[in-house]
């Protein structure tokens, strides 16, 4: 394994070890995401019939909100004992540290989505099983884009006093294109007669966003973390 990926792997493995022992982020994130979906279902499902076309937006809103929570908590851990400074002191490629943190958050959000998606399917009669593969691709691409920006911002803000307020203020405007593409792609997928070309278009757009966001984050991580 090359040095870059070895460091990224070690950082991700460390984050997962800590999370498996505490279950702090997974439990709070999951609880929050499930609560959001349930609240929407109480408001938008009457007599067992959900309002039209609400499932995609509810799914992505839950992911965005719970993702923000996970991002904040992951870096709060690094702040508590100033371990982020120890990571930055390591003679390793600093972008590798970013990739490791990003991979850890993606894994956590992937677990949350694995529970969230069937719940949305159940409560809002969404065809999550019949459209499992394209839905998984949309979610994967959207989550990468959201977390790529989120990981950079959360790391940048780790020493800021108002980090909990600043993170969503900075993150949501930047990731609006990802959210729109995710919602539109999922809406096309959940429609009674799914238009594969439209789904393909939004998926391609998400992948393009991912490439731009990940490259920008890798490029800017070292300078923004040095000063």
């Amino acid at each position: 394994m090359s040095g870059f990926f070895r460091v990224a792997w070690q950082v991700m493995r460390k984050d997962m070890t800590v999370e498996v022992r505490s279950l702090e982020i997974l439990s709070t994130t999951l609880f929050f995401a499930v609560t959001v979906v349930l609240m929407f279902s109480f408001g938008l499902v009457t007599d067992g019939r959900p309002a039209d076309n609400v499932a995609p937006a509810i799914l992505w809103v839950s992911i965005a909100f719970s993702g923000t929570l996970a991002l904040g908590r992951t870096f709060e851990r690094e702040r508590q004992n100033d371990t982020l400074r120890a990571l930055m002191l390591a003679p390793a490629d600093r972008p590798a540290l970013y990739v490791g943190k990003l991979a850890g958050i993606l894994l956590l959000l992937g677990l949350v989505e694995a529970i969230l998606v069937p719940l949305v399917g159940l409560l809002f009669n969404a065809p999550v099983i019949t459209q499992a593969v394209p839905l998984a691709l949309l979610l994967m691409a959207g989550t990468v884009g959201f977390c790529a920006v989120g990981t950079l911002f959360a790391a940048m803000l780790v020493r800021a006093r108002s980090r909990d307020v600043l993170l969503p203020i900075m993150l949501y405007p930047m990731t609006v294109p990802v959210m729109i593409a995710g919602v539109r792609g999922t809406a096309a997928l959940f429609s009674p007669s799914p238009d594969q070309a439209v789904v393909q278009f939004w998926l391609s757009l998400l992948v393009a966003f991912d490439v731009v966001f990940v490259v920008l984050a890798l490029w800017t991580f070292e300078p923004v973390m040095t000063d």
Binding site: T17, N81, D82, A86, L87, P91
Partner: protein, 229 residues
């Protein structure tokens, strides 16, 4: 060549000057103390020496290298912060192995085991750091900072919260590194301990060097005179 040179370093946060006109150099085998009241700029200076902060002006050279050399220069620096840079949810062994891997140590497992033996914590290797006393955590943290055998060792308030035996163990370990030819820079308020450890003291006040002292015996009186003048 193990030599640390700081030339005309300044650091500004907006209009506030945290450091101004800081120049000094340290030779191999020296333990240099940064002494001064809170807000004097000691931690800012240590962060600049650790390459975690860029100076607004001036330069720092580590032998033939500068902070622009990135990972190559970081590989020569070991830092013990006031917060100990350890994960409380991991065991002592896991902490050391993780940082060993990160610091590119060849056999992280064996290196971590030796480090735990040096810290007299081999029997507590698989205990979570969260259950350790301050002194035990400090010993693990010091070994973490020294895992990759750095030539430049930076310590921020290393004696805070330590009892007499832990302080003595820390001092002994630092003197062993001093004998090995490392440059050690430490910021401390603990003048009693510093009195017997330092090769040289640098007094900082309001972000400036206000005096240096090679005769470190009787440090407390001279510190009062220099800082209060």
């Amino acid at each position: 060549m193990t030599r640390l040179s700081v030339v005309d370093v300044a650091r500004h946060y907006g209009r506030r000057k945290a450091l101004s006109q800081i120049s000094f150099s340290c030779q191999a085998g020296e333990i240099v103390g940064l002494l001064g009241p809170n807000g004097a700029g000691k931690s800012t200076l240590l962060n600049i020496l650790a390459t975690l902060l860029q100076p607004s002006r001036g330069s720092v050279t580590y032998g033939e290298q500068t902070s622009a050399d990135g990972a190559a220069v970081r590989a020569q620096i070991g830092m013990l912060g006031h917060d100990l840079f350890l994960y409380p949810e991991l065991t002592a062994r896991e902490n050391l192995e993780f940082f060993g891997h990160l610091y590119g140590v060849t056999d992280a497992r064996a290196t971590a085991r030796r480090a735990l033996e040096r810290a007299h914590l081999a029997d507590r290797a698989d205990d979570f750091v969260s259950g350790f006393s301050r002194g035990m955590r400090q010993r693990v943290a010091l070994e973490r900072a020294l895992l990759h055998d750095p030539r430049f060792i930076l310590l921020d308030e290393p004696f805070t919260g330590l009892d007499q035996s832990s302080t003595a163990a820390l001092v002994a370990r630092l003197q062993e590194r001093q004998q090995a030819g490392c440059v050690i820079v430490l910021a401390t308020h603990d003048l009693d301990v510093a009195d017997s450890v330092l090769s040289r003291a640098i007094y900082l006040k309001d972000g400036r060097i206000v005096g240096t002292d090679t005769d470190t015996r009787g440090l407390i009186d001279r510190y009062r005179r220099v800082i209060q003048s």
